[in-house]
Amino acid sequence: MRVKLRIKRFDGEGDREPYWAEYEVEAEPTDRLLDALHAVKWYQDGTLSFRRSCAHGVCGSDAMLINGRNRLACKVLVKDLGERITVEPLRGYPVIKDLVVDQTAFFQKYESVKPYLSPEGEPPARERLQTPEQRERFDDTTKCILCAACTTSCPSFWSNPDYVGPAAIVNAHRFLFDSRDAATAERLAGLNGTDGVWRCRTVFNCVEACPRGIDITRAIGEVKKALLLGRT
């Protein structure tokens, strides 16, 4: 099928304002949008820049705004997007060039929740025990690939860039509800501030944007509840 791509571009040097460029490519209906972007880059216009790597939805490189929704370009098929496809960079971070945004602030928020296991005491000789039920408790939030699709779809983040954002809360949840972790109080305190979980207005954009199917609003709700109770 013939596909018309309308791509929001920005040079990144010089003083040209962002502009729209249109391309037409031939694509199989089952091609990924990433394949169509490659068809542009490799055979029409090598100056188009975007990030990508794994091409099957696990590395998180190619989140972008596709037909008005945040998705991974490698995890959405052309046939599901129609013959006219609009592609823009993620919202809320400075654009470096074309579809590439500066994610420094995104990863700073991630680091702010201390995303690493903080257990009590020295490790045992063998593994720490954890029942399948305890493991299941935080399974959903272990799936995060840090693609930033959720945070950059969130109106609370758009209006206040200091908001820690759904991705960081997801990763806090992953440790808060891990039975091996002992830094609950410290983690909760960090999320209780003015730019913490309370900025979430349960808009559910993040849930819709997540390419890994994480129930993000639910995870945020569980963190809020833990804050109210003072424990997980």
């Binding site: 490799w42 100056t47 820049s49 696990v58 593994e127 720490r128 493991r135």
Partner: protein, 582 residues
């Protein structure tokens, strides 16, 4: 723009499992990690099914059995001293990962869960054993996340989206690297006492591959250009179950959980090829079996794929133990593995060969294993060799962690004992020349300009058609000639993007140069090795030939850019070569 200079005691290139593990073992030293991607985008994160370690959590198991399986799986080409280390240290490594926070799937009594995998056996081949420790089918994701999290905790310094261009060698010692910052196009010289390459594989030399776009053999090619040979490059693993046409990996764990392969006649064809282990035979054997079936016209409806059937496992097992591959099949094929079999074909997956190292990750560059001081390699870009002619499933994750850690520890020792070597004079000069040629185009003028995309397509198609699962002298000769021609045309390759900021046109052109060099070593190594062993299967030399070929190949760059092969012996300790049957 002049280059920026940096100085670190140790520089690690690559931020997948091997690079991050090394960084964590260099604590207290002055270390920089360079990655051409953000670290969490590294391809370790795509590993699915598990990491092998004889924990014995499900049933009796021993590291000696793991060692034997690895040696036999390698078709006796692996160095057994290194395999012994791999199998022994796998156990403490998996436990360390758990202690660092990795959320493994669990047994009912709370231990790390384990499942069967291809070629993993009890009592030296008697029956399958549950050895693969897993976190659903996203084990690699969990490993990458856990290690990156630990690096945050330990405040490791990263230079993200830096592409390595050259290795600096001065006075017989490695002195650093030259790298390109993709974000702004600036050039950087990293002066170091020790450099580790942990840059991953080169699967993008093939058309159908499970490998990420980023896997372009960067470290291998850069080392080779600096005079280091590449070892055993003719051995490239094709994973039997890639999604038809796309190559996306469907984990061996799917067969570990009980998935079965069927041809177009509804036959469970592995009964013919591996009567004991069936669908859990090692990957080289199953990939060849699938190719044989396909060539006989036994594909599904005559097409170039067979079926992987999971339906009998039931929805609960499929969705809880194999959630990611279920998602891939639903997304990319529009079918539900709970209700329909999955169309699969072999997909280029893993380079057994690479930069030769000893068991401490130290790069060795001659037939006598002489060390190049200060240079280290680990992970898929390296060849210790623990995989020999064919890697067993899960051993790539064991390899990156065990030898990434060893490399980190030995680098810590090395940088404590040594001063900085001098830098070469004008270390960035040749990289500058090279980049400016790519930006400005070749000497042939506009009429002869060739596109990077077109050259890469030709390369990948040639390698797929003529140097993949089955090989023969005639086709390999053709590939060799074609590669020579492509390398010449590459000299005229040009790019459209002349900008400095995030110029991925330039990055891809550089990567194509790496791919061409690496593919050339694969093709020449494969043509020269006149036997069939592991993943290297020559139809004109169908037998393994221990008398002449029980040896590692070393592919050196000649001054004119060609390839010269030398050989070194295989280390055999416990297990004498036997016929390989499953």
């Amino acid at each position: 723009m002049p280059a920026s200079y940096h100085q670190f005691e140790a520089v690690i290139v690559g931020a997948g499992g091997a690079g991050l593990m090394a960084a964590l073992n260099l604590q207290g030293r002055d270390v920089a990690v360079l990655s051409k991607l953000h670290p969490v985008r590294s391809h370790t994160g795509a590993a699915q099914g598990g990491i092998g370690a004889a924990l014995g959590n499900m049933e009796e198991d021993h590291w000696e059995w793991h060692m034997f399986d690895t040696v036999k799986g390698s078709d006796y080409l692996a160095d057994q001293d290194a395999v012994e280390i791999l199998a022994r240290e796998a156990i403490e490594t998996v436990l360390e990962l758990e202690h660092r926070g990795l959320p493994f799937s669990r047994t009912p009594d709370g231990k790390i869960a384990q499942r069967p995998f291809g070629g993993h056996t009890r009592e030296y081949g008697k029956a399958a054993v549950r050895r693969a420790c897993y976190a659903a089918d996203r084990t690699g994701h969990m490993i990458l996340q856990t290690l990156y999290q630990q690096c945050i905790r330990n405040q490791v310094k990263f230079f993200n989206e830096y592409l390595v261009l050259e290795l600096l060698v001065e006075g017989g010692r490695v002195a650093g690297v030259v790298a390109l910052s993709v974000a702004d196009g600036s050039l950087h010289v990293f002066h170091a006492k020790a450099v580790l390459f942990a840059t991953g594989g080169c699967g993008r030399i093939y058309q159908i591959t499970s490998n990420a776009h980023a896997l372009t053999g960067d470290g291998m090619a850069v080392a080779w250009r600096a005079g280091v040979p590449l070892e055993d490059m003719e051995f490239f693993q094709f994973h039997p179950t890639g999604i038809y046409k796309m190559g996306i990996l469907i984990t061996e764990g799917a067969r570990g959980e009980g998935g079965k392969l069927f041809n177009g006649r509804g036959e469970r064809f592995m009964e013919k090829y591996a009567p004991t282990l069936l669908d859990l035979a090692p990957r080289d054997i199953i990939s060849r079996a699938i190719y044989r079936e396909l060539r006989q016209g036994h594909g599904i409806e005559g097409k170039w794929y067979v079926h992987l059937d999971l339906r009998h496992l039931g929805r609960a097992v499929i969705e809880t133990k194999l959630p990611d591959i279920t998602d891939f099949v639903r997304t990319y094929l529009g079918i539900d593995p709970v209700e329909a079999p999955i169309p699969v074909q072999p997909t280029a997956h893993y380079a057994m060969g690479g930069i030769p190292t000893d068991v401490w990750g130290r790069v060795v560059f001659d037939e006598k294993n002489k060390v190049l001081p200060g240079f280290y390699a680990a992970g898929e870009c390296a060849c210790v060799s623990v995989h020999g002619a064919n890697r067993l499933g899960t051993n790539s994750l064991v390899d990156i962690l065990v030898f990434g850690r060893r490399a980190g520890r030995d680098m810590a020792r090395f940088v404590a004992e040594n001063d900085f070597p001098p830098l070469p004079r004008q270390p960035e000069e040749s990289a500058l020349r090279w980049l400016s040629r790519l930006r400005e185009g070749g000497n042939g003028g506009a009429a002869r300009r060739v596109s990077v995309g077109e050259l890469r397509d030709t390369l990948q198609g040639e390698m797929m058609d003529k140097a993949s699962v089955f090989r023969d002298g005639k086709l390999l000769t053709e590939v060799g000639e074609k590669l020579q021609e492509l390398k010449e045309r590459y000299q005229e390759a040009t790019i459209q993007d002349r900008g400095r900021v995030f110029n991925t046109d330039l990055v891809e052109a550089i990567e194509l140069g790496f791919l061409l060099d690496v593919a050339h070593t694969v093709a020449v190594g494969a043509l020269t090795r006149q036997e069939s062993r592991g993943a290297h299967s020559r139809e004109d030399f169908p037998q393994r030939d221990d008398k002449n070929w029980l040896k590692h190949s070393l592919a050196y760059r000649t001054p004119s850019g060609g390839i010269e092969l030398k050989y070194k012996p295989v280390t055999i300790t416990r297990f004498q070569p036997q016929e390989r049957k499953y």
